[in-house]
């Protein structure tokens, strides 16, 4: 059996596992990112690469340690350093003694590259293709739904930790499903506890949107459980990047919301007029949607010294000021002290609270 390993990106590993299994491949999921993962990256990557690159490298190492023949790396042309690093990282892994076939996926063209890489690894029949794609979509959709429900529940939960507990259990249930049919059959049953958990209706809840680099936004090891901490402080979190949203037919979205999308693009263009690479432009567009929907606060996340996101971080304050939305900009590196982060989050939520109180008094 062909054994395939890949890096962690939020909860993506669950749907990748389902996808590879449906194609008759064996997924080798590396252990969840830990201190050791980061240490491996720090030891073997150049000093000034960004922290996500180091964590990804640690994931590759830990996946290959479990005995995989194929490695899927992030890379490919862009203005971000990740693209350049795919080649040296592959060389470094080979020097370390791992034997594997490398496949590069550009995060900006995820769907097309996923098809290409699948064809590089195996040659499925059209029927298997279709089944694989439908499995991937079904699995990722329910995973994203679970996370979204947990975001909604967390600020309203009666016992602290309920949302996290239910989310973990639901994700485990999804992961245990054998195939698409089982996921679809168990759907209601998996989501029910998150929907029916008791809620404290008296708490004041703020809507906070996370924008910025997709890795920082999705990977809770890297952003130090920021979503959870914000939830405990009474914020209903939403993030701009959901993988399952990429499955919606873009043309359909365009037909339904054409006017809105155009207006939003034009307004964003007055802040960021060109695609500077990475996810700066799509993230800003979503930030603009959140602002138009009337979100209470924006949090911008980026790895320290991230090139595309620094451009976004420079124009975002102006956008937030023009629309009167409070903005908290955070950049993350290898340091893992959480106290400073929590202080800043508390101060931010206090600010939102004060604003809401003033608005009510008026």
């Amino acid at each position: 059996v062909t054994r395939v390993t890949y890096a962690h990106f939020g909860m993506l590993y669950i749907s990748i596992e389902h996808y590879l299994r449906s194609l008759g491949l064996e997924p080798v999921t590396p252990p969840l990112s830990s201190r050791r993962t980061l240490d491996l990256g720090v030891r073997h990557c150049p000093e000034m690469t960004c922290a996500p690159c180091k964590i990804l490298f640690g994931n590759y190492c830990e996946g290959l340690e479990r005995g995989a023949d194929h490695l899927i790396l992030f890379g490919g042309p862009d203005t971000c350093r990740l693209g350049y690093l795919a080649r040296p990282q592959t060389e470094r892994l080979r020097e370390a003694g791992f034997e594997f076939t490398a496949h590069t996926v550009n995060p900006r063209t995820l769907a097309a590259d996923a098809l290409r890489v699948t064809r590089e690894i195996t040659d499925p029949s059209p029927r298997a293709w279709l089944d694989g794609a439908r499995t991937l979509i079904a699995s990722q959709t329910i995973v994203d739904e679970i996370e979204q429900l947990a975001f909604k529940l967390r600020p309203r939960e009666q016992d602290r930790g309920t949302a996290t507990r239910l989310q973990t259990r639901a994700l485990e249930e999804v992961r245990a499903c054998q195939d698409r049919v089982e996921i679809q059959a168990k759907r209601e049953q998996i989501l029910a506890p998150l929907l029916s958990a008791p809620r404290d209706r008296r708490r004041r809840v703020f809507r906070v949107a996370l924008v910025g680099d997709p890795y920082s936004v999705s990977e809770s090891f890297f952003n130090m459980n920021l979503e959870q901490e914000l939830g405990y402080l009474g914020a209903e979190v939403d993030r701009w990047f959901w993988i399952s949203r990429g499955f919606h037919l873009p043309s359909m979205e365009w037909v339904v919301h054409r006017g809105e999308i155009q207006a939003r693009s034009e307004e964003v263009a007055s802040y960021l007029g060109r695609d500077v690479g990475g996810f700066a432009l799509p993230s800003l567009k979503e930030a603009m949607s959140f602002v138009r929907e009337g979100v209470d606060g924006l949090v911008h996340l980026a790895p320290f010294s991230c090139t595309p996101e620094i451009v976004a971080a420079t124009v975002l304050p102006r956008m937030a000021r023009d629309h009167g939305v409070p903005l908290l900009a955070l950049s993350f590196d290898e340091q893992s002290g959480q106290a400073g982060l929590i202080t800043r989050l508390e101060a931010f939520v206090d600010l939102l609270d004060r604003r809401a109180w003033r608005r009510e008094r008026r």
Binding site: P46, E47, M48, T49, C50, P77, D78, T79, C80, R81, G83, Y84, L85, R87, P88, Y271, L272, G273, R274, V276, G277, G278, A280, F304, S305, C306, T307, P308, I310, V311, A313, T314, V315, P317, R318, S331
Partner: protein
């Protein structure tokens, strides 16, 4: 009409081209004064904290120049070669500028991407000349004349050491905006001269030599900066003219973070010592001087003894 060129980033590479283009169209070209403490202070009080030193300095020059001119020329350079790309900050320069300058209407932003073909380039040139004249023929002529003149610009010559015979030859590699901004690099080239070094810089290589070195080393360049850092460095090493390499990089620079280690590897294989200097906005010079002196001493000592650096040994071990 007065057009302002901030003395930072791509200015150091393309200034003669832009200057002759705008002057041919009858504009008065105003360049910001060389970087000083005031430039940096202006930048740090307005620009995002996480930006790298060169982009901060650009912000400082831009803000210092804004009151003196009618238009500020802020180009967005994406791909100066076929595939290799500039960093996102240089691509997004007009957007960065727009969030700094009070009146965005005074920015003359032009998108240059050679990968998009001749038509896009012609449109960019037209956009650049448009505020000065309606006449496309005049713009085309000015552009062609400026380009021809730019191609014939004189090459810099090796900087001789001060005093008597040079003791050693050092190759200093890095982006032109770090090597030529004497405030940002703390007069690095002069200091090396004072220490007795003859200094070679990227501009002294024949056209295209650095590109070919990159291609031989890592295949097609990913970053547009690869020639000035990795390419030039390995050219110097191949010519066996240099006794040591000094790589000047900016703190937090994405391209440099990947390129400098590649060059360090090449230098190690060639058995030539390399010093990596990382520049940020700190202004203390004592630490820099100590490092330069120690490096030069080490290179001189090695040269006198004819010591070959062991391939496995670290680049700057105490034994060598």
């Amino acid at each position: 009409m007065r057009i302002g060129l901030p003395r930072a980033l791509t200015y150091y590479e393309y200034a003669p081209l832009w200057r002759s283009f705008f002057e041919a169209l009858g504009a008065e070209v105003v360049v910001s004064r060389p970087t000083s403490r005031a430039t940096l202070d202006l930048a740090t009080s307005h620009a995002t904290a996480d930006l790298c030193l060169p982009v901060k300095l650009y912000a400082g020059h831009l803000l210092a120049l804004a009151p003196e001119v009618d238009l500020l020329f802020v180009p967005s350079l994406r791909r100066p070669m076929r595939a290799a790309t500039h960093c996102a900050k240089i691509v997004g320069l007009p957007d960065l500028a727009r969030s700094l300058v009070r009146e965005p209407s005074m920015l003359l932003a032009v998108d240059i991407d050679l990968d998009k073909g001749a038509l896009a380039l012609a449109q960019a040139v037209w956009a650049a000349g448009r505020p000065l004249t309606w006449n496309p023929v005049q713009i085309a002529r000015a552009a062609e004349a400026a380009w021809n003149q730019f191609q014939r610009r004189p090459k810099p010559t090796p900087r001789p050491a001060e005093g008597t015979q040079p003791v050693l030859t050092l190759g200093v590699v890095g982006h032109s905006y770090l090597l030529e901004d004497t405030y940002a690099n703390h007069r690095l080239l002069d200091r090396l001269g004072q220490l007795g070094a003859r200094v070679l810089t990227p501009g002294m290589l024949p056209d295209g030599a650095a590109d070919r070195c990159v291609e031989r080393l890592t295949g097609e360049a990913y970053w547009a900066y690869a020639p000035s850092l990795v390419g030039t460095g390995s050219c110097f090493l191949e010519s066996e003219e240099v006794d040591g390499l000094v790589a000047v990089i900016a703190f937090g620079c994405a391209p440099d973070s990947g390129l400098a280690p590649v060059l360090a590897q090449v230098a190690q294989r060639a058995g030539v010592p390399m010093l990596t200097l990382t520049l940020d906005e700190q202004s203390g010079e004592a630490g820099l001087m100590t490092r330069l002196e120690a490096f030069v001493d080490m290179v001189v000592l090695r040269k006198r003894r004819g010591v070959e650096l062991d391939e496995q040994a670290p680049l700057c071990s105490l034994e060598s």
